[in-house]
């Protein structure tokens, strides 16, 4: 079959063809970008934090009636140790650590410079500092890749916000590799936040994400063996396997029992599942929205093609009858409509690829999006072509059923 008579037939429906081409092009442009947005969001959400997230939860609480003045530091620390002992003593709890923040918490991050030389002006790396004690590794479910963990004797206590110059630190593997590409970070010294005094790296942990969800160097983390003393405190708690909910119920009463002069807000005890969900809520929402829009678009376009092809089939009953009477097989009629559709949608798809790239450039310039990969465009084209072929098939099947005799009778 040659394409030439098909094109001259389509000339009779210029407006209808133009509208389908336009619709296919626009649909493709939007769907490509939507799929791309969905892909990037899923990739973000799927980033591992490095934590063993099941059975983990976070407590944030505040003591009442005691200021954070220097005289109160010892008392505040005693209360924090008392809380930790209480938590660790609960039958549902496997381990607990004081901690300044957690991955994906998106608040209370303490970012600072990690330098290879003292009082350096340009930071060797920017990292996040987690302040915790020797229970941090088991509580967070981090693996020690090299060196040793903190010991109880290493852990200091400092007023809130005082990074100081800790004698020892544990760093995440990503940070260790960045600072010491030769893989010999353990035993080396680094300088935190422009300090003159060194901090010795005693251990390297597996991956550990930073609290910010939009951070770039998202896995550069430093564990500092220090409890922060302030009027509030934060504890990460690992429940025994499967007992997280029971543990979350138990801790509040236990803490109030040991010291009633405190506030644990409604959202003061949060499971890590909840923290993760909260952190990515906007991303999940955006991905679902794009999913919905793409689905509607594809349905509308498929239905539109279906409707117009039906109309054309009705309009051409006579031609089909004549062609059948002159010896065209049913298969020829079917493939005529399929090929015609391929021609139209192919044209639309080509325009659509250009539009998709244009839309992507617009989004890049206005909303700092990334560049659309070719794979997504090809995927979109394939999807579009298959869908339109499918929605042509049903009306074309009807065309096939036109009896040669009946079509000629109505002449």
């Amino acid at each position: 079959m040659t394409v030439h008579p098909m094109i001259s037939a389509l000339r009779k429906h210029k407006a209808g063809v133009a509208l389908i081409v336009l619709q296919v092009a626009l649909t493709l442009a939007i769907v490509c970008n939507a799929i791309f947005i969905i892909g990037t969001r899923i990739e973000r959400i799927a980033r591992p934090t490095g934590l063993d997230e099941a059975d983990l939860f976070l407590i944030t609480q505040q003591w009442v009636g005691l200021g954070a003045s220097a005289d109160n530091m010892e008392r505040l620390d005693a209360m924090q140790r008392e809380d930790l002992a209480t938590l660790r003593g609960l039958p549902e709890v496997a381990s607990a650590t004081p901690i300044s923040s957690l991955p994906l918490l998106d608040s209370a991050a303490w970012n600072g410079a990690v330098d290879l030389r003292p009082v350096q002006s340009n930071a060797s790396a920017k990292a996040n500092f987690y302040f915790a004690d020797e229970a941090a590794l088991p509580t967070l479910g981090l693996r020690l890749l090299a060196g040793r963990n903190f010991e109880a004797g290493d852990v200091q206590h400092k007023p809130f916000g005082d990074v100081g110059a800790p004698a020892i630190v544990i760093v995440s593997k990503d940070l260790a590799d960045r600072l010491f590409p030769d893989g010999d970070a353990v035993g080396k010294s680094v300088y935190l936040d422009g300090n003159a005094a060194p901090s010795r790296i005693v251990g390297i942990t597996s991956r550990l994400q930073t609290p910010g969800i939009n951070d770039y160097g998202a896995y550069y983390s430093v564990l500092v063996p220090s409890r922060f003393n302030s009027t509030f405190s934060r504890y990460a708690v690992r429940a025994k396997p499967g007992q997280r909910d029971a543990a979350m119920r138990a801790v509040s009463a236990a803490l109030y029992r040991v010291n009633g002069q405190r506030v644990i807000a409604d959202d003061g005890i949060r499971s890590y599942t909840d923290i993760r969900q909260q952190a990515y809520r906007a991303d999940i929402g955006m991905a679902l929205l794009m999913c919905g829009v793409s689905l509607i678009l594809l349905c509308v376009t498929a239905a539109g093609i279906f409707g117009l092809t039906s109309f054309w089939v009705d309009q051409r009953r006579r031609q089909i009858g004549v062609r059948r009477a002159l010896g065209a097989r049913r298969r020829d009629v079917l493939s005529y409509f399929q090929l015609e559709n391929l021609l139209i949608v192919g044209t639309g798809a080509m325009a659509g690829v250009a539009l998709a790239i244009a839309l992507n450039l617009l989004l890049i310039s206005r909303y700092e999006m990334a560049r659309l990969p070719v794979v997504h465009v090809l995927l979109g084209v394939l999807l579009m072509v298959c869908l339109s072929q499918l929605s042509t098939f049903i009306p074309a099947r009807r065309a096939v059923k036109v009896e040669p005799a009946s079509a000629i009778r109505s002449m």
């Binding site: 003045s69 002006s121 990074v163 100081g164 302030s230 929402g285 955006m286 239905a303 409707g307 617009l362």
Partner: protein
């Protein structure tokens, strides 16, 4: 009944017949329009909520000053000074008092207890502000008022609380004059706010990120809060660690943690303030406190919100994509209407032959398109309601709670559906009027 109305009802009747002849096609058009309109209106509801001016009557007269106390090394590629002020700069600007009204602001979340009752203490969110904060932002009061500048200077233990906190602690009665215990000290309530929940939290974007689900339940005098050592619960950016812990350390440090707002009533006043800031920075350099040239900014509120990207980019992308969806639905409807109208060439030829003018045909088919649009709009209303419900479920609470359905949105939905369908129907209708009566009649 006059002629126009009679014709109108006749055309409506004809349209109904046409819909009955091809119910599938009609349903498809109505569905497409309603989906397109609903997607657009839902994303628009979110976009409108986040990109609105929180204080439209005054935003062009409110300014945020930035002073570079950190120098070129901390600026990064944008060359921007820190987003917040350090304590030294904030108190210097307050002392010089060059604007009509001004206030230094920081975020706090202390534990609060009504002194009279023996209840559990509760955590509340709020800000430490100056006396001029209240008139500057036209903060509405139910009882009492803000405190005075004398209270600021005397570091008086006074507080303004929200209607919500007043209800919770005092059962909603006039609590002015009663006392509150905040972090162990006693404060006298001088005012109770009427409902006040500006979104975005334009006066403290640095600490709230723009939109805040936390309440604005407690306002304390800035100087009093500092003296009482009430910690900031906002963001603190430091280029050097403070030597001391707590608020005392922050006060003596170069850390940027204080939001600042100043009202300047004219362009001249704004320019004068710019000169003043440059003079202040120049003085810092001359005194040897810093080594770099003045690098200050003074943005009005809309520019400031834009600078900090308060409108989440996702809402813009969503609106754009939804508009694209609407366009596709319109193109789709246009194609279907074209097919539908041309299928009736015989009918049109007949009507033209018996005397209907082109205008009459035009009216008939425009009314038919309009009815599709109206039906799409009505269905779109329902879908928009569902869409906004989904938004509440999907998006973070601080933004989702702002997306509302109101009369404006309803009217816009119907108008958008009607106008867009008429637009989509314009070309098919034009084609229908061009049908040659003689050609069609021959075919009969």
């Amino acid at each position: 009944m006059d002629e126009g109305a009679r014709l109108f009802s006749y055309y409506v009747n004809l349209a109904f017949r046409s819909f009955r002849r091809s119910p599938g096609l009609t349903a498809l058009m109505v569905l497409a329009i309603s989906f397109g309109v609903a997607a657009t209106m839902t994303t628009f509801a979110v976009f409108r909520a986040v990109s609105g001016d929180p204080i439209p009557w005054k935003s062009s007269r409110l300014f945020v000053p930035q002073v570079d106390t950190w120098g070129p090394a901390a600026r990064g590629s944008s060359g921007e000074p820190p987003n917040a002020l350090d304590y030294g700069t904030a108190s210097a600007l307050l002392r010089d008092h060059r604007g009509t009204l001004q206030s230094a602001i920081y975020k706090l979340s202390p534990a609060v207890q009504a002194s009279q009752t023996g209840s559990h203490p509760i955590n509340v969110d709020g800000h430490a502000v100056g006396a001029e904060f209240f008139p500057m932002l036209d903060v509405p009061f139910r009882y009492g008022s803000g405190w005075s500048r004398q209270d600021d200077e005397a570091r008086a233990n006074v507080a303004v609380i929200s209607e919500r906190l007043n209800r919770r602690l005092f059962g909603g009665e006039n609590s002015v004059g009663r006392t509150l215990a905040i972090e162990g000290r006693s404060y006298r309530i001088v005012g109770v706010l009427r409902h006040w929940d500006p979104q975005p939290r334009f006066f403290d974007v640095v600490n709230t990120g723009g939109f805040s689900a936390a309440g604005e339940d407690l306002l304390l005098p800035f100087n009093t809060a500092i003296a009482a050592g009430i910690a900031t619960t906002g963001n603190t950016a430091c280029n050097k660690n403070p030597d001391e812990a707590g608020i005392a350390g922050l006060v003596h440090s170069g850390c940027a943690w204080i939001a600042y707002l100043v009202q300047l009533d004219s362009r001249d006043a704004a320019n004068a303030y710019r000169r003043y800031l440059d003079g202040y920075a120049r003085q810092l350099k001359d005194s040897g406190a810093v080594q770099w040239e003045p690098n200050n900014r003074l943005r009005d509120l809309p520019a400031w919100l834009d600078h900090l990207h308060v409108v989440p980019p996702d809402t813009g992308v969503s609106l754009l994509v939804a508009l694209g969806l609407l366009v596709v639905c319109l193109v789709n409807t246009s194609g279907l209407l074209l097919a539908k109208f041309l299928r009736r060439s015989g009918e049109i030829g007949m009507r033209r032959a018996v005397g209907a003018s082109r205008t009459a045909i035009y009216a008939q088919f425009l009314i038919e398109s309009g009815m599709v649009g109206l039906a799409g709009g009505c269905l779109g209303l329902g879908l928009t309601a569902i869409g906004v419900m989904c938004v509440h479920w999907l998006l973070p609470a601080d933004i989702a709670s702002l997306a509302r359905i109101d009369a404006v949105l309803l009217a816009l939905t119907i108008c958008l559906a009607l106008l867009s369908t008429l637009l989509a129907g314009a070309y098919p209708t034009l084609r229908a009027t061009r049908v040659q009566p003689s050609l069609q009649l021959k075919a009969f």
